[in-house]
Symmetry: C2
């Protein structure tokens, strides 16, 4: 048993989809979430810059009493996970491995689509992780940068978003993928819309959408059980920190949580 919190680190707001999934599946756990809103987005920046920013943010998070850290940002995971693991002895989970494992298990044809930020796609981290499990997989990768600002604009089911999804999904459907990795923590808020566009626009009901929030939570739950880290039965507390503009973090972030309203968030200095 361990009363410390699960630490979640993200470049900004998107990782709240991971926080929401962890809160749903592990309701007794305290959660301390840090969004690096002063330096977001990581997704258009270089590997060196992403790593430097992620290291500094992780150091901030480690000042709090946490027992395990989830790097809920695909870009930070793809570029900086080994560096971040060197900062602490506690378990540090990224989102890429669990997502890749879920995709490799879900595919029937080996044709897998990978989506994410420019930096995540350029890193080829999902390519490597999937091919390590399924060397014959045929991968189609594509950056979907507009989904992040569309999510932050709150246009979750807007005609503009639907048309953007049609544009982005076209090459994936043409490549015949049967599994699609949503490799950015913002994307799960569009899961219903993506499934609906696949069905209605492309007649595809059979594409499995891999949500790394779900995949990493499964891994986290197993790790907590294996290492006997579970909190006692209770209602876990959630604390939110960001490095800039807490009003915006609360306003935009609340639309990412089922049930809305994340309450308060505290700004901490870089």
């Amino acid at each position: 048993m361990n009363r410390d919190a699960i630490g979640i680190f993200d470049s900004g707001i998107g990782g709240l989809t991971v926080a929401a999934e962890i809160a749903r599946r592990l309701p007794a756990e305290d959660i301390i979430y840090l969004g690096d809103t002063a330096r977001l987005p990581y997704g258009t920046k270089s590997a060196a810059t992403v790593t430097r920013y992620a290291e500094r943010a992780m150091e901030l998070l480690l000042r709090y009493p946490v027992k395990a850290v989830v790097v809920a940002c695909n870009t930070a995971t793809a570029h900086a996970l080994p560096t971040l693991r060197e900062l602490t002895d506690m378990p540090v989970l990224g989102v890429v491995e669990p997502g890749a494992r879920a995709a490799a298990e879900a595919t029937r044809t080996g044709r897998i689509g990978i989506t994410g930020t420019e930096a995540t796609i350029r890193s080829e981290a999902y390519h490597r992780a999937i091919l390590a499990r399924l060397p014959d997989a045929q991968l189609t990768a594509m950056a979907w940068p507009l989904l992040v600002p569309l999510a932050e604009e709150g246009w979750l089911d807007h005609p503009v978003t639907r048309l953007t999804a049609e544009t982005y999904l076209g090459p994936m459907v043409a490549a015949g993928v049967d599994t699609l990795v949503l490799g950015c923590t913002h994307y799960p808020v569009f899961k219903t819309l993506i499934a609906s566009v696949l069905r209605e626009r492309f007649g595809r009901e059979d594409v499995v959408l891999v949500d790394s929030a779900e995949a990493v939570t499964t891994e986290l739950a197993a790790l907590i059980e294996d290492q006997d880290l579970a909190a006692p039965e209770r209602a876990g507390r959630r604390s939110f920190f960001c490095t800039d503009a807490p009003e915006r973090f609360i306003r935009v972030g609340s639309t990412f949580l089922p049930g809305g309203d994340l309450g308060s968030a505290t700004a901490i200095d870089l």
Copy 2:
């Protein structure tokens, strides 16, 4: 006469619309452009963070031989111009005052629309600058955050962009504006599309679009003449610096320049 360069500072890539206009109107002038791509965008961040980032970037720019600085980022101008002016004795021009002046001169009814990033709109810098000239002006302000990623995606005349422009222009047309300030340096790349949507979707041919790149260049040209700062007749050189990911800066930035290709860009450390 003065052989030093015009320094242009921007949060990233959008200010290249200003650089292009200055190069067109003042072809003999050398231009040194610095885009703070490691910390972009400024538009979703707080006033304090924008000011801190802008100060550091401006200090970098001032290491080069420049005779005047244009702050080509509306967000940095709106929040940090007085602070940036304290860093040097040379002339420092922002984009808000020239844009506000052009809008106040263009309007016939006093109904003016103001668009920009969230941070620019929240600053109310355009409100103050326009009302100082035209106290009875009726202002309608609205953040148009999606135009920045749409420009960087290169979707300059894409159906998604057209639908986004229709959504954003609706409230401006409903408010009866006859002048619209494009208060973000990314937006001028959509001038043709915005005019076309106003005409074809809303039957409005009479709305004046104020492009702050043009407005600030007019002011810069006057200042150079007044203070006898002009370069000798020659073909001015252009140098581009950014604080991160020069490949992306070149690739995306080249789509912002009439004639394309900005050549090379050099990454400098923060």
